[in-house]
């Protein structure tokens, strides 16, 4: 089970509270986690990665195990602690704007 922590606005959109847990088949990467997330919560399509380019939205970041993974290739395997559910993948909204 993969754990994902979403910003509060996205939790509201997806109508969930707390962490989201997902089954991810194959390699656990940001890409496969987002695919699983959007399959289960289609209302989140386009909110984390752009619909057209599939790139991460500029004001969002991916953190895990104390590291910023935002600039890694999206298909790079996530740390083992995320893959085995010990640590969550954090989707973080940048502190910007008003």
């Amino acid at each position: 089970m993969i754990r994902v922590e979403l910003p509060s606005h996205l939790r509201a959109l997806a109508q969930v509270k707390g962490e989201v847990t997902l089954e991810v088949e194959g390699v656990v990467s940001v890409l496969s986690v987002l695919d699983a997330l959007e399959a289960r919560y289609p209302m989140l399509g386009g909110t984390i990665r752009d619909h057209a380019t599939q790139q991460r939205r500029p004001f969002l970041r991916f953190f895990a195990c104390g590291e910023d993974l935002s600039h890694d290739p999206m298909d790079r395997p996530l740390p083992a602690e995320v893959a085995n559910g010990k640590e969550p993948l954090l989707v973080i909204g940048a502190i910007a704007g008003g």
Binding site: P7, H9, L10, L13, A14, Q15, E38, A39, R40, Y41, P42, M43, L44, G45, G46, T47, I48, D50, H51, A52, R57, F59, L60, G93, A94, A96, G97
Partner: protein, 393 residues
């Protein structure tokens, strides 16, 4: 006709204000979508309980929301409330997917527009500024977006397709962003000619289609903008808002960056009607529901100072189709008022005694239940108001 429902989009959520026909006592609901920028909400004329809303965020992008019960509950079209859908489920969650036409047939040439520095820049979707439901079908809605383009849904907002004839008619590469971005902010559907659509873009100008959005032409003859290299160019004008006299649909009014304009021939030609306005800069313009010659503007000091002259918030009304303007001040702030009124933030109801509404960047929404003679605040302390629409119920 027994009352009104005012739909208010703000910088930090949406609010719904309801009242009976007297428009003196109000119920306020909200914030809906708290914390999100709500650019625009509008009800379908053919089904008042059907309301569409543009919810947007610099972090999370664009969301389209829909209500089928007059704004009590909302859902993203294609994703019913309380449901989650797995692979193979019908809802695709694509109600917020606005992808420009890049097809070989119609979209290929539509690759770039002019950027601030004069270079060509690719079109990039940012947000929906304006939603205009069809006059006859609640499932059909037009969306004006930034970077400027027109999209349409025919399935209640589940999916959207670009009407690419607008960007593709020939002048697209000359369009450029205004200070607020390159946005398609005004959509007017002609009540007597089903195929006729007017739109306006900052900073490109006004355009008209007579075939339901397939083909388009600029309608900017008579506009003069001294801030562009060729002041009477075919495109490049910063049109802020167009309003149509519904009973006389060839009669249009325009608040341009500077200048208030009028067209008697569905936009073919425009004439300035700023007349005795103390300043002809502004954003909003609207027309009395029952009198095509009565029009309202809120003069703003200048493009560098986006607030009323002398700190006095004033609506100006002309009963002569422009040129002769009367100051309306009863009930509005007399001093120390330095708010703006943004382009989508004025509306009129269609009760016998036409009501006029506008919202400010200071969070006030004002109502005049007597066609502008007197004003009172409905609410005073909302977040900055982006848009105001009214439904006459």
């Amino acid at each position: 006709m027994s009352g009104v429902r005012v739909l208010v989009g703000t910088k930090k959520g949406a609010f719904i204000l309801t009242s009976d026909g007297k428009r003196e006592k109000w119920d306020i609901s909200g914030p809906h979508f708290a914390g999100w920028e709500m650019y625009h909400l509008k009800g379908a004329p053919s089904d008042p309980n059907r309301i569409y809303a543009s919810q947007t965020s610099g972090w999370f992008g664009q969301i389209i929301q829909r209500s089928d019960d007059g704004g009590r509950t909302w859902f993203q079209p294609g994703t019913p409330p309380g449901e989650t859908t797995g692979p193979g489920g019908a809802p695709k969650g694509e109600s917020n997917k606005f992808v420009y036409d890049t097809s070989a047939e119609t979209g290929k040439p539509l690759t770039t527009h002019q950027f601030y520095d004069g270079t060509q820049h690719p079109w990039e979707f940012k947000r929906v500024w304006h939603l205009e439901p069809s006059l006859t079908d609640p499932d059909t809605v037009y969306a004006g977006v930034e970077d400027a383009a027109l999209f349409k849904t025919a399935n209640g907002g589940k999916t959207w397709e670009e009407l690419s004839g607008l960007r593709g008619h020939g002048t697209g590469p000359k369009w450029q962003p205004g200070a607020g971005g390159m946005c398609l902010h005004t959509i007017v559907l002609d009540p007597k000619n089903a195929g006729r659509i007017f739109i306006a873009i900052s900073a490109a100008g006004a355009f008209r289609s007579d075939d339901s959005g397939k083909t388009w032409k600029p309608i900017n003859k008579g506009l003069r903008s001294q801030y562009i290299p060729e002041p009477e160019a075919e495109v490049g004008h910063c049109v802020h808002r167009i309003a149509q006299a519904k009973a006389k649909p060839n009669l249009l009014y325009m608040q341009k960056h500077w200048d208030v304009m009028r067209s008697l021939d569905a936009g073919e030609t425009w004439t300035e009607v700023s007349g005795n306005l103390p300043t002809d800069f502004g954003f909003v313009i609207d027309v009395h529901a029952h009198d095509p010659e009565t029009v309202y503007v809120v003069p703003i000091k200048s493009d560098g100072e986006h607030y009323p002259l002398d700190g006095k918030l004033r609506v100006y009304r002309s009963k002569t189709g422009g040129n002769e303007w009367q100051e309306l001040s009863k009930g509005l702030p007399e001093k120390d008022c330095y708010v703006n009124v943004l382009r989508d933030a004025m509306a009129v109801d269609s009760l016998d005694k036409c009501g006029i509404y506008f919202g400010t960047t200071g969070g006030q929404v004002y109502c005049s239940p007597d066609s502008g003679d007197t004003w009172a605040p409905v609410v005073r302390d909302l977040p900055a108001v982006y848009s105001v629409e009214v439904q006459t119920l």
